[in-house]
């Protein structure tokens, strides 16, 4: 347990030293929040009610799909994974420590948004903060599970940049965080439903923490855990 906690704390520090994770988990999401928060609330004042969940969906998607996978590739696409085997440490431990560390970073970024949005843009705070953070935690975990698959499947950074965008962009454009989903053609609306971002967004808005908005996320999480398990098993047998 001691080793596990030290591993998580160390990973958290390594993530801070790694500029790429800082950029994807803090710098870009917060700059996007500052820019789009100003634009959205000026152009569409109604968005003040949903600014916090929408900016959080964007930030979490970026951190999970673009920020986490490179760390995983650094470990599982290289000789670093041998370090685990050589010390009799289960291979999944690296994935878990990296995911927990990313979870903490993303939650911190979200807290910054929750604190700043009402001050800067008069955005409405969620009516029930504990429920909001529970919904947020579910969405972060599901997003990180998808990011984990990307990091375990893709073997090099160049390919990852391309493939991560294929998950990230539709998540942002088709989830309803930029504009009401009803304005989209039906096909796009259906495609948007495939990505967890739209479900996460629905889960985080007031009175959205319902099983009808959560079942799909739980399903995706379950599937992602199985896929990650299989991918790690394959790595172990190699």
């Amino acid at each position: 347990m001691n080793a596990f906690l030290y591993g998580v704390a160390l990973q958290w520090k390594l993530d801070i030293r790694s500029k790429s994770l800082l950029v994807t988990c803090y710098v870009v999401p917060l700059i996007f929040f500052l820019l789009m928060g100003g634009i959205f609330t000026s152009v569409m004042p109604d968005m003040k009610d949903t600014l916090i969940p929408s900016m959080i969906v964007m930030g979490v998607s970026m951190g999970a799909f673009i920020g986490l996978p490179p760390s995983l590739i650094e470990t599982y696409g290289s000789d670093i994974k041998k370090v685990y085997k050589a010390n009799g440490v289960p291979l999944y431990l690296g994935l878990i420590t990296m995911a927990i560390s990313a979870f903490v970073h993303l939650m911190m970024m979200c807290i910054i948004i929750v604190l700043l949005a009402p001050i800067l843009f008069e955005a409405a705070l969620p009516s029930d903060l504990p429920i909001f953070f529970m919904a947020l935690a579910v969405y972060v975990i599901v997003s990180l599970s998808i990011g984990s698959i990307l990091g375990l499947v893709v073997k090099n950074q160049a390919k990852l940049t391309m493939i991560a965008q294929l998950v990230f962009l539709p998540s942002i454009m088709l989830s309803g965080i930029m504009f009401p989903i009803e304005l989209l053609p039906k096909t796009f609306e259906l495609v948007g439903e495939i990505f967890p971002a739209s479900w996460g967004y629905k889960l985080m808005i007031d009175d959205g923490f319902q099983i009808e908005n959560m079942w799909y996320l739980i399903l995706v999480l379950g599937a992602a855990i199985i896929v990650c398990g299989l991918l790690l098993r394959k790595q172990k047998s190699n």
């Binding site: 080793a3 650094e74 470990t75 290289s78 000789d79 041998k82």
Partner: protein, 271 residues
Amino acid sequence: MNKAIQIDCLRKSYGGHTVLKEISFQIEKGEIFALLGINGAGKTTALECIEGLKKYESGTITVNGTMGIQLQSSSLPAHIKPMEAMRLFSKWNNVKIDDTLIHSLGLWEIEKKQYGQLSAGQKRRLHLALALVSNPDIIFLDEPTAGLDVEGRLSLHNQIRKLKSQGKTVVLASHDMAEVETLCDRIAILNDGKIVFCGTASELTDTIGKKYFIHIKTERGTETIEADSIEDVLLSLLGELKQKGIKVLDIKVDKGTLEQHFMEIARRVEK
């Protein structure tokens, strides 16, 4: 039990290519043992099978003792600092860090640097320290001095000798003949997935036969001639040179380096 490691009929393939063709050898406790071979001979694969890092198709591997593995460079995250890695490894192995290990390998000097900023020599020292964290009985070193300068090599050689003096078994993979010749008690030569020789350096010389290398320096330059008998070759050579009026400046005779023997073994296997 004097065997630290016993390998019997170890076989390993990648796809359709067999890298280890049922190799067998044993390593005694407390010796420095080298696996020699050119790049691609199967040294690292053999080591990784013994270390438990790779699976193999058939054969048996018996290891008597705890293992410490010095991995090759680039096997740590770029942003980790040496002491952080040491702490992590010690926690994984549930042991305390031995301060003398840190001092003897000079890790304090580099404690503020991140792994990606370390020189090749500093990385090697750190990897050796990490391999020794759990005070193992058997230490595996894969190309321990590759990419090191002379000072770094000598320092690492001293560390390896120190391990032997502490009763540890050291197994190293290398393609550096000079290193193996000066460090190791016994060697196994891997060629094309087979052990073509296993024994001491002097036994290797005997296996090759009474081959001599005559280095003759004349006013026209230096020439090296391989010969099974010194007298016959040298006498006829000197006679020939005298006849041509070429002045001999120096003559040296030796039994060749390990490298030359290795090349000879490899040549014989190819035939």
